[in-house]
């Protein structure tokens, strides 16, 4: 139930915030150094030491993995499999555990390798 609602919520977040940022990023990238400096300034902007844009990007990374994993779950269920209560619940919980782990992994790598 919760995971099914999360699938929609993360899908809507990715559709609007995710694609808006992707489009803005590509456009800034193609518009010369000045435009990209502005983009980078927004990404690195800190409000009283809180990196706001970074939090949004981490959030969208989690949305990506949650939507991806629960999407796989829905594809499996489309075949008529995994409707048994126990299996279904385990699968649902695994999507959340997996999405949190993968998000942590990606951002530890990004911030650790310090690009």
């Amino acid at each position: 139930m919760v995971v099914s609602i999360l699938h929609r919520a993360t899908g809507v977040a990715l559709s609007f915030a995710g694609l808006a940022i992707l489009t803005w990023w590509l456009f800034a990238l193609s518009s010369g150094p000045d435009a990209y400096v502005t983009f980078e300034a927004v990404v690195n902007y800190r409000f009283y030491h809180i990196p706001l844009a970074l939090i949004v990007l981490v959030g969208l990374t989690w949305c990506f993995f949650q939507h991806l994993l629960s999407g796989i779950r829905h594809l499996v269920m489309d075949t008529g499999a995994a409707f048994e209560l126990g299996v279904n619940k385990t699968f649902a919980i695994l999507t959340i555990v997996g999405s949190v782990l993968l998000t942590a992994l990606v951002w530890f790598y990004f911030l650790g390798v310090a690009k």
Partner: protein
């Protein structure tokens, strides 16, 4: 629109049923989801594997066919999948026929415009001279 009592049973139900596009929409949503499984993973892996994330490195990446082609596919498929997905949410929650049509029209325009902007930017990088 009421046809009154003179309408035949067929006349009363005509135009109220399925448009017969539901199956196509359902399938498209799933086909694009499988494509995005690959393209999304490719995008994230590429960003992780690039040595730096400065403008020069990113432009070199998207200038090469190996970056530009999958990214073009990602843009097109992601906008299509987003449009299909958000349409399901609109159809579920907006019950009044007029507003539902307006929402779907707005979202269609938004997705096409967004996709066009992203593809234009990508083309400018892919066919431009490397900065």
């Amino acid at each position: 629109m009421s046809l009154g009592e003179s309408a035949t049973p067929l006349g009363r139900v005509r135009g109220l049923g399925s448009a017969h596009h539901g199956g196509e929409h359902w399938l498209t949503e799933r086909v694009t989801s499988v494509a995005l499984l690959f393209l999304g993973t490719w995008l994230l892996a590429s960003l992780l594997l690039l040595p730096k994330l400065d403008q020069r490195t990113l432009i070199e990446w998207l200038h090469a066919p190996s970056g530009a082609i999958p990214m073009a596919l990602f843009v097109v498929v992601a906008f299509r999948h987003a449009l299909d997905g958000v349409k399901v949410v609109v159809d579920d929650y907006v019950h009044e026929e007029g507003s539902r049509f307006a929402w779907n029209l707005l979202l269609l325009f938004l997705a096409v415009a967004g996709g066009a902007i992203a593809l234009f930017a990508l083309a400018r990088i892919a066919f431009g001279t490397v900065a």
